[in-house]
């Protein structure tokens, strides 16, 4: 039976698939020098898909559809919208990438990965979950190594592939243990099974460790973060942006759904505390390592990689809190972070397209070479540093508030100390953008022009970052209703 609810539940995925098929059909007929326009098609198609989904695909009461494989609720829906937004922006940013933007495959792989991420957000079954994680990952391995005649890019692709496969097999082993123990793969039935069965603490801890290897790799928390800087540096910049935002957010979606639903242990708080405390310690280490290692970086993409490791740590505070506010603040954090980090990567992409440079010191005088880009950089980096009126500030405050509420004040203090470190290195970049001058050159003679896709993408993102940071009520109430579905 294919009811309207089922249709609505996978409407975004259907639209993405249709868009992919259209791309496949249309692209060969275009001349090689016109294939950049596939980017317009992808981005436009995704924005249409977002609007159609918002109009027709809104979930009501949470329901399980397609044989319990998919959970149709606000949590998944809101995240799907975020992923599609991130993919649309990434498509725009890819268009003028010299080596990746002219080829239709790149956009198709992006859509395939997006499809996987969308399913990650709604999977209610471990089998479905594993399949969707692989669907999301495999195109990303290819995209990271997309520039085959560039050593760094191939290295990035291969490194990402090896780490990724290793992590996902370990996670798969964890899934199989869960199945062996409970006899079910449905996440929503697991919690009852766990409650009924007599799961011992060491066994659960081992199980949790296996899972966190795979999922920790996706969200790049310490100690599963080693791939991130190399991959971000080597991969085409828009892909690095996509990896650090949508891919990471998808990982968080899985973590929140799986842990909040399956590992709630209503009658056994000791088990609950096992994983929240483990995650709390991981979060503290992640923040500290990410931020400390960001300090000495000279390459802007590596800096952003370490900063994104640090941000995974902040967002984990919301997971650790294990409360409705915690879940809502994670989702809100992801929304703010996706807009902010895409903006940062977008500026980096636009800058390196013109200049071919990626060192922080190369940004000297950017605010004179292109004042608009200077302001964009300001918005992105101040938002990352957690300064109002940009999204990063409120997101951080909400996450910290959730942490304090759950009596993890020590973790919040660690987070706050880390954000002080963050302020230092983010401002250091802005120092080059605004204060330093180009050595021996007049900035007037070296403008950094923006092409149209960049202008559109960056303006949308900048408005988004400010809107999330000022008019935060609608975003938060969506995050909140998303979180409500988990309990």
């Amino acid at each position: 039976m294919f009811t309207s609810t089922i249709f609505a539940s996978i409407l975004p995925e259907i639209l993405i698939l249709v868009l992919g098929v259209i791309l496949l059909i249309v692209e060969p007929f275009w001349k090689v020098d016109q294939r950049r326009n596939v980017g317009w098609l992808t981005a436009g198609g995704l924005f249409v898909a977002i609007i159609v989904s918002l109009l027709l695909g809104q979930p009501g009461e949470p329901t399980s559809v397609l044989g319990g494989m998919i959970r149709f609720d606000w949590f998944g829906f809101f995240l799907k919208i975020l992923f599609m937004f991130a993919a649309a922006i990434t498509a725009l940013l890819m268009m003028d990438h010299e080596k990746a933007g002219q080829r239709g495959e790149a956009y198709l792989l992006l859509l395939a990965s997006l499809l996987g991420m969308n399913l990650m957000a709604v999977s209610a079954d471990l089998v479905m979950l594993y399949l969707s994680i692989e669907t999301a990952s495999i195109p990303l391995y290819l995209l990271a190594g997309f520039i085959i005649n560039d050593e760094r890019s191939t290295e990035a692709g291969f490194k990402y592939l090896l780490f990724g496969i290793l992590a996902s097999t370990i996670m798969l082993y964890g899934f199989s243990l869960i199945f062996g123990f409970t006899g079910t793969t449905n996440i929503y039935k697991l919690s009852e099974m766990f409650a009924a069965g007599e799961i011992t603490l060491p066994f659960f801890f081992g199980l949790f460790a296996l899972l966190i290897v795979g999922l920790g790799f996706k969200i790049s928390i310490v100690p599963f973060h080693f791939w991130a800087p190399d991959v971000y540096q080597g991969a085409p910049t828009p892909i690095a942006g996509f990896l650090s935002t949508a891919s990471k957010a998808a990982g968080f979606a899985v973590i929140v759904r799986l842990f909040f639903v399956a590992f709630s242990f209503g009658d056994n708080p000791a088990l609950l505390q096992t994983w929240t405390w483990t995650l709390a310690i991981l979060a503290a280490i992640t923040m500290t390592v990410g931020n400390l290692l960001a300090l000495p970086q000279t390459n802007i993409k590596r800096l952003l990689a370490y900063s994104s490791i640090g941000h995974a740590g902040y967002a984990l505070i919301g997971v650790v809190a294990f409360s409705q506010l915690g879940a809502a603040s994670v989702v809100f954090y992801l929304a703010a972070y996706i807009a902010t980090n895409l903006l940062a990567f977008g500026v980096v992409m636009a800058f390196s397209r013109v200049t071919g440079l990626e060192d922080i010191s190369d940004y000297a005088g950017l605010s004179r070479r292109n004042p608009l880009m200077g302001l964009m950089m300001l918005a992105a980096f101040l938002s990352l540093a957690g300064m109002p009126p940009f999204g990063g500030f409120v997101a951080k405050v909400f996450v910290f508030a959730a942490g304090v509420q759950a009596n993890y004040t020590w973790l919040v203090i660690v987070g706050i100390l880390n954000s002080i470190i963050g302020v230092y290195y983010y401002l250091n970049v802005l120092k080059f953008v605004y204060l330093k001058r180009m050595p021996n050159e007049d900035e007037e003679n070296h403008p950094v022009p923006l092409t149209r896709p960049y202008t559109i993408a960056l303006v949308i993102l900048a408005i988004g970052v400010i809107l999330v940071g000022t008019v935060f009520a609608p975003w938060f109430s969506w995050s909140d209703s998303a979180a409500l579905n988990l309990f």
Binding site: L325, S367, P371, L375, L378, L382, A385, M387, P388, P389, F393, V394, V397, F398, F400, A401, V404, Q405, T409, V412, I413, I416, S419, I420, V423, Y424, L427, L430, K431, Y434, L435, F472, A473, F476, S477, D480
Partner: protein, 504 residues
């Protein structure tokens, strides 16, 4: 619904800043005109609020506006002013207006006055700062207060780093930002803990400060959290031993930013420490007031003494600010009527006075290209108007009767005497030191023989500069001669604090 005057005052600078950023960079004069128009409008509006409050026989919080912002977490945009904040709103209006005048720039190529490099960005960031400052003074919602507080912090980095004094700006800007950010995040932890504890105690999820006053925080809770909250905010008030960023920041900042920094930004710290620390955690304040009093007492004397030995005019004024802000905190630490009233008036008086000092110092530096007191002399002959302004500022600084400084400092010392006469005696030494360094500076810079290398290089100040100086002097003299235009108003704000302190 009445005219939402406080929101207009607060958001006008933000809107103007956005507007300026949207204008072409080459249209420098148009940008300046927009800036001046906004500043004048904000000054008029804030003066109107002040006058209404004063003559409308108002008390408590007035002009209250409330918009639900995020009801789920109890965050609302709640604005209102009382007798303490209304003068500070006016002060911000004054400093904003004079700051724009001072930064206007001069067509004379020999004079480096004003902001010539990218005035569009300068005014936009300055107005972002101003909007944040207004927001803190009028917010009655703790979340929003914190939000605006942070907005006021980061533009300082850019303003100092980009337009500041080449030699120290990078260092000073980073130092200032880190100090202030550390202070504010320490306070943030306290704020969040207060928020959840209130929820536990009353079952109401709200950041509304008027509700938090009645949250019934336990004595031990207040004892633990008073210090982080108070000191976290007071870092921005330049409290000893966390004052170190402040003189460095003053020295590195361009003139208008120094005026903002010393004039209003430091008040922000003292005000937030008072509003959040003392008013929401009164028991904690009582238990810790001895420590605050020691810190403030040291700041008063130590700041004055360090100012005395400086040769750079900006460092001298910077440390004198530490000393004068120490008086504000000293007044707060007494927790009695006289001390708090004095602190309230001193915030206004010191704001206007320091703004004037920095304005005149900036004018001298722009023309003489030095701020070293031994290298200057005879300025009075070419800049008589600025000289008179500086002398009036000096008299205020010394606490001369007839000027606003006296109205402010006298009650502070009375209040301190009541609590701990020894501290009053020690702190009063600062008055002597202040008189000494101010008079020495005036004699050397303005009245001694002009060094030969400066003769003929000093051009007179412009009309705009004169307007700025007269505006600032006007307020200092009016309050000095007619204390009734400010003191009764501040008293009304203080009554509210005393009520929270339990009539102590």
């Amino acid at each position: 619904m009445n005219f939402p005057i406080l929101s207009v005052i607060t958001f006008l600078p933000f809107v103007a800043g956005m507007l300026m950023l949207a204008m072409p960079a080459t249209r420098k004069n148009e940008v300046r005109a927009v800036a001046l128009a906004t500043a004048v409008l904000d000054l008029i509006l804030s003066a109107w609020v002040y006058v209404q409050y004063l003559f409308g026989d108002m008390s408590g919080y007035q002009f209250i506006e409330q918009y639900n912002w995020l009801p789920v977490l109890g965050i609302s945009l709640k604005f209102g002013v009382d007798g303490l904040s209304a003068p500070l709103v006016l002060l911000t209006g004054i400093v904003m207006f004079t700051g724009v005048l001072i930064s206007w720039g001069d067509d004379d190529p020999h004079v480096m006055a004003g902001i010539q490099d990218r005035p569009r960005e300068f005014f936009a960031f300055l107005f972002l700062l101003a909007g944040g400052v207004f927001g803190v003074f009028v917010s009655l919602d703790l979340f929003m207060l914190f939000f605006f507080y942070e907005i006021a912090v980061f533009p300082m980095y850019l303003l100092i780093a980009i337009w500041g004094w080449v030699k120290t700006r990078e260092y000073a800007a980073m130092k200032l930002t880190l100090y202030l950010f550390i202070g504010s995040v320490v306070a943030l932890v306290g704020v969040l803990v207060m928020y959840w504890t209130q929820y536990q105690n009353t079952g109401v999820l709200s950041f509304d400060m008027l509700l938090m006053e009645t949250a019934g925080f336990s004595s031990s809770f207040q004892y633990i959290w008073f210090l982080p909250v108070f000191l976290g905010f007071a870092v921005l008030g330049g409290i000893w031993p966390f004052h170190n960023w402040s003189p460095d920041g003053h020295v590195a900042a361009p003139t208008a930013v120094s005026m903002f920094h010393a004039g209003v930004l430091m008040k922000l710290g003292a005000f937030a420490a008072l509003r959040v620390g003392v008013m929401l955690l009164p028991e904690g304040a009582k238990q810790w007031s001895w420590l605050i009093m020691i810190f403030a007492g040291v700041a008063v004397v130590y700041g004055a003494y360090i100012a005395f030995v400086q040769t750079d005019m900006k460092y001298m004024i910077g440390f004198s600010s530490v000393s004068h802000m120490g008086l504000v905190v000293l007044g707060v630490s007494t927790l009695n009527h006289d001390g708090l009233v004095g602190a309230g008036v001193q915030m206004f008086s010191h704001g206007v006075m320091t703004a004037l000092f920095f304005a005149v110092t900036g004018m001298i530096y722009d023309r003489a290209h030095t701020r070293m007191i031994p290298e200057l002399g005879g300025i009075a002959k070419v800049m008589p108007f600025a000289t008179i302004g500086f002398i009036i500022g000096g008299l205020v600084s010394m606490g001369m009767p007839g000027f606003s400084g006296f109205v402010a400092e006298f009650p502070i010392f009375m209040g301190v005497w009541r609590e701990q006469w020894l501290v009053a005696v020690i702190a009063s030494i600062s008055i002597v030191i202040t008189a000494a360094y101010i008079m020495l500076a005036i004699r050397k810079v303005f009245f001694s023989e002009m060094p030969e290398n400066l003769v003929g290089h000093i051009s007179p100040i412009t009309m705009l500069d004169k307007i700025a100086i007269s505006t600032l002097c006007f307020f200092m003299i009016v309050i000095g001669i007619f204390p009734a235009v400010m003191v009764p108003m501040v008293e009304k704000g203080v009554e509210n604090i005393l009520r929270l302190l339990g009539g102590a």
